[in-house]
Symmetry: C2
Subunit: 538 residues, 2 copies
């Protein structure tokens, strides 16, 4: 791992983390039938001589000898691709398999026709603005691997553009499939430009934040025209998907009056304030068709925001939440009639027994448009550990059919996530997504678990680290007690100690079963004496 | 928080953490109908003047002015209690409500008769060796709050007796309901003595570890007599429950031959090695009735170990695992016929879609004896994060009916957990247990979430911290960006910044709804401008 310094740190960009993840190298695998097209993989090199290819979200930054120039941005991968005049949805409906569909299919290991069919049905989306050519296309839908989004965005107070570009690269290094730039403040346009030009993954935004700034910070002063102009500006820049809280209607607001935590979505709160101040229907709702015409021209995917999501288990699955969801279903049909690809955002805070109902209703009301949920957090009582309270809910809701999970970091509810929090959040969510892929029987998911477990049973420590979600930390934990290189081949770890490893005894048992019973019995001394067992399991 | 130094650190005991958890004080609530009996609670004092009592596992160590003398041990709480001649199970079947049942009922907030009925049915156990009078009795069963066990135990290489006593106190401070002492090495008896005399929670062990030591470390040299004498020694000391791997039969061993990770239970591997070396049936199985007669005399609860639990998702729910479970069902009936209370241990590594089947089969085969599971880990690919991979499975299996969860720390598979790992493991498992209690509709669970969420919505930061599982870390995360005391009353945090908090806007909206629409509209300036949003959610 190293850092590449931008050619123009003066302009605000600084250094980002580059180089391969330990134990693996970046490879590009050719796509059959697509001359010149290849898709990235993280190739794990095993000590057995075999290799294991993993889905790779990290872009060129993990190449071995990459030279990064943040000022120049990433190469325009899609520049030369033939483009269908309409959106991916329009193409799919017309029976056209686009290069983006072939690229996504190759990454997922499925036939391109499967991607086309899912996109045509509105069960999957490929967020890929025509003006974001640097993008490595990816598909979001329940027929494919569960995806993870990481929120970044600068703070006028504590963060610079360089830090946010670094956070984007850092988040995708550990497995973020998309990033949302929630930047605000004076340099919002410039920050977004740096992130877009250097992002290999789809970038999402919430345009209302910038629009409110243009309204002098007063939601009541917002107008449709201000919002529309902001959306066009962001479409022109290349934003791939936008969260729009068009489901917060005037009549929904009183339904939040007696909630424990009211309205916890910032976009939702802004629109509720606007509706109430003017006692008029949301301009996002009344101008929704016009908005769709704009998004359609760039193939920007609309992510229908859940402005009334529950912010506590007490408010989960309540009248306000489901009233908005019904409205999102209505808007889904309008957006798709314009050829716009649609994501539906979901909660929030939801106790385990109420999670599946969210997926069932979303699929019923929103024509199975890909569900994109924040967690959900399964309890409110663990601030500082909400990456865990929500990883539980995220794994369950993904298993039930959610296509993409928005991460939650340990700082949720408490403060600004730093670089370490971003990594912790991404890893916790890759765990939730992978656990769901396993439960759904995703063809490739089990291969990685089995490869790692075989390495574990055969004491191939380097392979176990290399196949893990975070080789650096796995190795560091092992090194805390056994730093020497020989320990990386040893038939034990410090958990049970050198003389009492169940897997070692189990290997002896297996040898015994292999007809060597007598020899084994004579070699009883090889079944070691326990001397260490702190924290080990009975 | 402070530390109390033992009166005899020379004898091996050192200092332990004492004093109340931030924002709360230790109280003892009188038990109606039991003169002189009171149960401990963590009383959280809210800034509203109200207080909120929480279940408390921490013993006298969290009293404000506690004086701890580790050499003397804790007061013998149960010394004066009338004792039924038999076990809690025998008493319950005879219709007798013991003091222990009343104590547990008061802690759980249920009628004593409910505890008696569940114990009589074998659906709950109260691990309470007659010779562990320092114990604050607790009940384990699916009708009650989900419990958490923490494994401790010294290492000849890296840990002292003092460190293990401190780990026990530390684990119970953060919510461990029981601890298992997995100590090995030369000072195993002395270490266990220090832990037992100072433990307010039930202490469990795995006697086979000590027995193998007496057999010179060679499983093949083990005899029933060696094992029996070890069990009697531990019963005399006051161990409350013991893991016995009596379900690993000779005929089961070949079923593990083609597993990806073989046998991963240390006790299971030892017994498999013994059976194979002698080509005889397990002495734990052939002498099981005699073992039960010993345990019955002390009312030691037997925890039937899952020696053949899966160590990888590939091996989950396989023939070996379920063959052993059927044998555990048979042994459950034998143990209960001797009046012995029974726990059943469960896996391990299990993907989400195979979790519920484990609970269904356990209840069917083992007469609903309380299920006690390790995790399960829902994927194998995240070494260094297995507290998270397993918290997902633990929450799901507890919701399905598991009564107690054995924690997993971030060091699982990699090395020795330290003090921080113990705390992280306990908190992750308290999250899983509480999420399950919420999903099961446990009457008290929701109260804490609602109290914390009300504090959150009203910006009562001190109350939010005090009601959380880990006030120290929640406060520390908040202080990283807003250390000043006034920020503890501020209507924002650094996540969304001072001028753009959805909950603040939501409060304005609520004010607007409260008939102040005009005033609200005029006060648009009070609906703040966004300047910070790093990591905040759309």
């Amino acid at each position: 791992m190293s850092t590449a310094v931008s050619g123009s740190s003066a302009s605000g960009a600084g250094a980002v983390t580059t180089g391969p993840i330990e134990g693996s190298t970046k490879h590009y695998v050719a796509v059959p039938g697509e001359p010149g097209m290849s898709v990235p993989v993280r190739r794990v090199h095993l000590t057995t001589g075999e290799h294991h290819d993993l889905y790779d979200t990290s872009g060129p930054y993990t190449e071995s000898d990459v030279v990064v120039d943040l000022a120049a941005g990433l190469p325009a991968l899609r520049a030369g691709w033939p483009r269908h005049p309409g959106t991916q949805l329009a193409a799919a409906r017309a029976g056209v398999v686009t290069p983006e569909m072939r690229y996504c299919a190759a990454r997922e290991g499925v036939p391109a026709e499967t991607v086309r069919a899912e996109v045509a049905a509105g069960r999957a989306v490929i967020p890929a603005n025509h003006r974001h050519p640097e993008l490595e296309p990816m598909v979001i839908g329940k027929a494919f691997g569960v995806k993870v989004n990481a929120n970044i965005g600068n703070s006028a107070v504590t963060s610079s553009i360089a830090e946010e570009v670094d956070k984007m690269v850092w988040a995708t290094r550990w497995g973020a499939d998309t990033v949302m730039d929630l930047s605000t403040g004076p340099r919002i346009h410039e920050t977004r430009e740096w992130i877009l030009r250097n992002s290999p993954v789809p970038v999402g935004t919430v345009p209302i934040y910038q629009a409110v700034e243009q309204a002098g910070g007063d939601p009541a002063a917002l107008t449709w025209e201000m919002y529309r102009d902001t959306v066009i500006e962001q479409c022109e820049q290349g934003v791939d998907y936008m969260t729009v809280h068009a489901g917060v209607l005037l009549r929904h607001i009183p339904l939040t009056a007696h909630r424990v935590t009211g309205i916890v979505s910032r976009g939702g709160a802004i629109m509720a304030a606007w509706c109430l101040a003017h006692h008029r229907e949301s301009f996002l709702y009344t101008h929704f068709a016009e908005l769709c015409e704009i998004l359609q021209r760039y193939d920007v995917t609309i992510s229908l925001g859940d402005g009334l999501r529950p912010g506590s288990v007490a408010d989960a699955n309540d009248a306000a939440q489901f009233a908005e969801l019904r409205t999102l279903g209505e808007l889904t049909r309008v957006a798709k009639s314009h050829g716009v690809q649609v994501l539906i955002e979901g909660p929030g805070h939801v106790p385990m027994h109420l999670i599946e109902e969210n997926v069932r209703l979303e699929e019923e009301l929103c024509e199975e448009a890909p569900f994109y949920t924040l967690g959900p957090l399964t309890t409110d009582i663990a601030p500082a550990y909400d990456h865990i309270t929500s990883a539980i809910g995220a794994a369950m809701i993904a298993r039930a059919g959610t296509a993409m999970l928005c991460y939650v970091t340990p700082k949720e509810h408490l403060g600004l996530p730093d670089r370490d929090d971003v990594k912790t959040g991404v890893i916790a969510y890759r765990i939730a997504a992978h656990a769901a892929d396993l439960a759904k029987g995703h063809p490739r998911a089990r291969e990685r678990d089995d490869a790692l477990s075989r390495a574990r049973f055969e004491f191939r420590w380097h392979d176990q680290f290399a196949l893990s979600l975070d080789p650096d930390t796995a190795r560091a934990f092992h090194d805390e007690t056994l730093p020497a290189e020989p320990a990386k081949k040893a038939h034990f770890c410090s958990m049970c100690g050198p003389k009492f490893c169940s897997m070692r005894i189990s290997a002896d048992v297996r040898a015994g079963l292999a007809g060597k019973a007598a020899e084994f019995a004579g070699a009883g001394g090889q079944v070691y004496v326990p001397i260490e067992s702190v924290g080990s399991q009975p």
